[in-house]
């Protein structure tokens, strides 16, 4: 049994279940966004929606021109993750991702970094085997790379934001 199979059959499901439980507990426990945060989150949803629409439009135009670069599954996955990145990034930089009651973001950033690393490693292994692109089309194996990069990007964003906040002197 190679390392990729061990990760995908044993470690990954446990990590994913832990992530889902953590997120559910967080969602149920913390619901109190203040009025500024609600406005920011509304704007973030709008930008995420525009991202999804623009991405769909580009793919449709390419498809109409006779260029198919991905399957429907890959399209849905990429659209979802692009929108997700836009929403989360905007909320983090405008201080509207965490509710008023949540003070520590360390655990969340670590979880994202862990999930991102696991997916990125899996994605790189798949890319190394040449499974990411077949017959000029992206396969679903590219989603591991996308998830890995997006989660690590968001984790890095938390670190950058924390650095900026620590530099910001309370006036």
């Amino acid at each position: 049994m190679d390392i990729l199979k061990i990760v995908s059959t044993l470690v990954l499901p446990i990590v994913l279940i832990a992530a889902v439980v953590y997120e559910l507990k967080r969602t149920l426990k913390y619901t109190n966004f203040d009025e500024r945060q609600q406005i920011v989150r509304g704007r973030a949803f709008k930008y995420a929606y525009y991202t999804a629409m623009i991405f769909a439009a580009v793919i449709i135009v390419l498809e109409a021109g006779g260029t198919t670069i991905m399957s429907a599954v890959v399209f849905a996955g990429l659209q979802l993750y692009l929108s997700f990145i836009v929403f989360v990034s905007y909320c983090i930089f405008k201080d509207a991702y965490f509710t008023v009651s949540e003070k520590s973001v360390k655990g969340y950033a670590l979880m994202l970094a862990g999930l991102g690393t696991i997916n990125l490693v899996g994605g790189i292994i798949q890319a190394g085997k040449g499974h990411v692109m077949e017959n000029g089309m992206l396969t679903k194996d590219c989603l591991g790379l996308v998830i890995g990069v997006s989660f690590l990007f968001i984790a890095a964003e938390f670190v950058v934001k924390k650095f900026l906040v620590s530099r910001e002197e309370e006036e």
Partner: protein
């Protein structure tokens, strides 16, 4: 436009942005945004801030 009156009223009460935020139930960044003039609060939040600082709306938010 910066809200210097809010900042000075908070300082007069010896409250940090976080302490005032906790008193009125918003994030510290929201108080910071109001003081910097980056966010216009709703009347409900204005009233909550005024109550926390023992000031009137005129004292803090009226030009």
């Amino acid at each position: 436009m910066k809200n210097l009156r809010l900042k000075s009223a908070r300082a007069a009460k010896d409250l940090s942005q976080q302490q005032l935020a906790d008193l009125v139930g918003v994030s510290r960044q929201t108080i910071s945004a109001i003081e910097k003039g980056d966010y216009n609060p709703t009347i409900n939040l204005c009233i909550a801030i005024c109550r926390a600082l023992d000031k009137t709306l005129d004292d803090i938010f009226w030009e």
